[in-house]
């Protein structure tokens, strides 16, 4: 088997995996430290059928979205995390101020709608959270 055909095969398998993993409305996949945009034509899996059950968590401040506190190395929350009302899921930086993004319900994170460093406004959807008790 040539290297080219091997790569083609890997790419096809990768796209299959991506299609399975893709939650509704997301535009990119995070692998380790790199973020890959979903290739055109890859559709969300059956999860999208449940997306109406997800609650949107919107920004309560305007500024720069930071998933990780500047003094920390780990993000406050990641896709798939089970969260409890009151948990800090990230930060919005306004000048030198860091305001928390706080979970309003118990549930699991089904979608992170912003990229690190993106400017968000009051009302920008930051996370989608599937309320606890809703089946996937």
């Amino acid at each position: 088997m040539t290297i080219r055909s091997k790569l083609e095969q890997l790419k096809t398998r990768f796209l299959d995996i991506v299609a399975l993993a893709k939650p509704s409305n997301s535009h990119a996949l995070e692998i380790g430290e790199s973020t890959l945009p979903f290739p055109a034509g890859v559709n969300g899996s059956s999860r999208s059928a449940n997306s109406t059950a997800s609650k949107k968590l919107v920004a309560r401040a305007s500024g720069v979205y930071l998933p990780t506190h500047p003094d920390q190395s780990m993000p406050a929350a990641q896709l798939g995390d089970i969260v409890t009302k009151g948990d800090r899921l990230g930060f919005i930086k306004m000048g030198p101020l860091l305001t928390p993004i706080v979970a309003q319900i118990d549930g699991s994170i089904t979608n992170i709608c912003c990229q690190s460093g993106q400017t968000v406004e009051y009302g920008t959807v930051l996370f989608e959270i599937e309320p606890k008790g809703t089946s996937l």
Partner: protein
Amino acid sequence: MIKIVSTIGLSTVQDLGRDQNYRHGVSIGGAMDRLALALGNALLGNPEGAASIEATLYPFKIEFLSDMDCAVTGADSSADLDGQRLPTNWAFKAKQGQVLTLNRLVSGSFAYIALRGGIDVPEILGSRATHLRCTFGGYEGRMLKPGDILNADRPQQNARTLPEGGFGAESPQTALTAPKSLYHSDSGITLMRYLPAAEHPHFDDTSLKDLVQTPWQITPQSSRAGFRLSGPTLRLKETLEMRSHGIVPGVIQVPPGGAPIVQTADSQTSGGYPKIGTVIEPDLWRLAQTRIGSNIQFVETTYAEAIAAHREMQAYLANVRSLTETYRDFLQ
């Protein structure tokens, strides 16, 4: 009202110190990291120098005996409120019965706990700072002990309560321009700018090179009064006999042994050793937050750069204060 639940020593009530009685031989004292103390007060809408707790040995634990707004700034002490981890430089609402624990050092050295309104202890000689050597000021002129109960002053009228979830500030380490050295780029070394002092020209050439080109280790013989450094021996070209004269925090004295001492908050008001330089005030917090055993490196600077660094620090504090007010108004 708060109660000290546990402390293993060296935690005191501090503010920005007393500078009106220096001529009578009273040390300035106050917080080792004045910037961190002012930052906590800015987050809570307190006057800049409201009294706060300074902690340096961990774990340190307090219990809230009533609902209260609180801020923890300075060293990253891996703080938690009832087990919920708090980010660094964070202000939050604490409820009666909750326990705040500063667990252990992750980075830095001195952590500050500010309460909305400031800690209410008597003002002595214009300050609430604890003067340990003279046993006055702060809480009964001594270190805090388990069981001590501290009250907060009435908050200022314009000080609003905090939003749910609290909020914080970007740490000064990332928000402020860091000094740069021609001789070191190692991130593990704290760089500190200094201005040459009166006796600088009296040191020999090797010593003047060593001052800026080698790292200096902070020895365990350091305290709130001064940081003793170890490194190469600094030598004068010829013996210098001097009368005692006024010194201030930041002054780098060189005793006859040749190992420099940087004066800090509880510095004596006078001394007779030759002075090779003075660490600029806007970098003294960097020194305070460098742990014993770690290395620092001196960077010669100019008066203009020192003023610029001071202005940048003031602008950062003013920015935190004004945005804090805007943010709280917005959430009311």
